[in-house]
Amino acid sequence: MRGIATPAAGLADVAYFAGYPVLAAGLVLLLFARAGRAALPAASDGLVVGVIGTLAVWHFILSELAPGSTRDLLVAAAYPIADVVLLACLAWLAAATGTRSTAATLIAVNVALNAGTDLAYAVDVAHGGSGDGPYLDGAYLVAYLALALAALHPSAARLTARAARDSAALSGGARVLLLGAGVVAAPFVGLMSAGHSHGAWFMTATAGLVVVLVARIAGVVNEANRDRAALADKEALLAHRALHDDLTSLPNRRGLLEELAVRLGRAGGDPVVVVVVAELDDFNLVNDGLGHATGDELLRRVADRLREAAREGELVARIGGDEFVMVTSTPEGSADALASARRVAATLEAPFALSTGEVYMGASLGVVVSDAEERRPAQELLRDAGIALYRAREGGRGQCQVFGGAMRQWVSERRSLENDLRRAIDHDEITLAYQPQVDLGTRLITGVEALARWQHPTRGNVSPAQFVPLAETTGLIVPLGERLLARACADARRWCDAHGPVLTVSVNVSARQLAQPGVVEQVRDVIAAGGVPPGVMVLELTETALATDPVRIRRRMEALRDLGLRIELDDFGTGQSSLAALRTFPLDAVKIDRGFMEGVGEDTRATHAVAAVVALIHALGLGSVAEGIETDDQARSMAALGCGRGQGYLFGRPSPPGVIDALLAEDRRLPAAPAVAPRIP
């Protein structure tokens, strides 16, 4: 003790001392609110500051004070010690949560300034100064200002919001600085203890500091190890994700290519590698009609089945939306390749029980075989399998094709046609031809069916049998259907204006169009824009359009009928010819497929068969239309069987709208003899 007198304690000190623990309590509360349990490990950082600060206060301040009254000495010691406690709390707060919040930073500034100014005051007094320097008062003022601003700042509203550990904790550099300061301070304090009157205490404190530092360093090392392990886990997860599909956990395209490349390059492996690419038929109908969640569920089920069906050594992957791949190595050639494809097809044949109901889902398959003599890169194999798949899809649902050299040329031409079709739709090059429908009793024309026609500038007349399936496959049927419906509405409106509503105008709607969300609104807008009276426009649907998600499709059909549209079932007899469909769906009429017309009026069995169909249709209260009538005998026989309307070359081929104009301008009667009793052989 050097003998500097301690300042006398007063009542003001009671008020000041009340403030310190309350402030410390606020800081600790803030600390736990922001960091939660993560605050506990950081306590050692605060402890390091506390121990060093206490020893420094002891050495530089308390040792300098002369012994006065115990009360005065306690008061003189309490201020700097309380300041050290506050600074320790501040270090703890910073270590646990960082200072990313402006309000928290301003609070820290207040505490640091208050404590720092107190300590400067104490040092000044301990060394004989008056402690009343104006700069100290200025510092107290700025400390108040910092806290006032903390309360005013917008971030104050989120002060106690939980801080994200990774972003908020003390940075590595700051932590090293803190621990470094502790490491440097420890021997320094030890040296100070030499010859000091309280040397034993100093040494004990130094030992305590070292223990805390070692514990903290061990904690930091542990933390780093945990972080490294977490990083390794993340890296492994990322690597897995890069090569696998999230939805099904199967290898993705990249994973497949890597594995395929290994198999193709492996010496001594099986000489033949077979790649089967499977694409689900009409998956879009499920996805669009039943929603993406159901689509995802279906994909997971497909993946599960393929995984179960795969034999040892076979690889299953998902390389795109609804495209799956099975790779197998066989000792033989293409016979085994087809066996693999058949196995994949059989796997997907059974219905899938999904949460929204049962779904049938076949697949089209493309197969490519790579043998030892002709090893090709994995990428090339997959491309060729895709070409074979493309070719298979052109053949219809559930088809399988093995890749052959000529396919490349075919695919190239197909792609070229697809590009042309896209451009033709954009430039309205696809036009409509109308085929008459007549009342079989009176032979008066009562309606027309709109049929798409494409006159290509260089290819000439492209058959609908060529471009309509292509439009279906590529999804172009949706914009094409919308444009053709608008055009048909415009023609219907013109005929109505000129002759009254004497004709119905039928337009074909594909399964894909009907499954499209918003199809009802789209049709409503087109009809409204065309200004066609109710009952004139007819939509023709095929059985395929009714097969997927019947409940939703029925609701849509009802909504379309509410718009004043009639709905007819097209090509009845070519598909499943489901009686349930006739009974369940809101139909106005059924068009009997042209296949039934063969032999009508000449062959007993054929006539009886079609008679039964007509009777069934009528029994259900529906209208009937006979398609493909080419002879007068067929027309008279169908009329005698009670079939209401007929359509076919006998009454007229698909013709430009002008031909229908001319027909309407005359007496609407088509040149054929009136019906007589059927000739049933």
Binding site: L11, V14, L23, G26, A33, V142, T160
Partner: protein, 85 residues
Amino acid sequence: MSGGKTASRVRGGALTWVVTAVCLALAGVVAAGAWPGTTTVPIAASGVVTGVFLAVRAARSRGVGRWVWAFLAASQWAFVAGDLW
């Protein structure tokens, strides 16, 4: 309503700048030793203003936040009391 909220933010922003400017000016005068008379007056006045802001913030906050601001406010009022004693 968003209009009211915006107006409130503008008022809050202006208040922040006024408080900052006044307190910094005061601190400058005090630190330069140019304040006429005892410095207890500006220091205690700043403490009162700070205590009021903290109390208002505590009243507007919820949950743990209210307690944190209340503790901070209480500590500052204690310091102001010490200043005035």
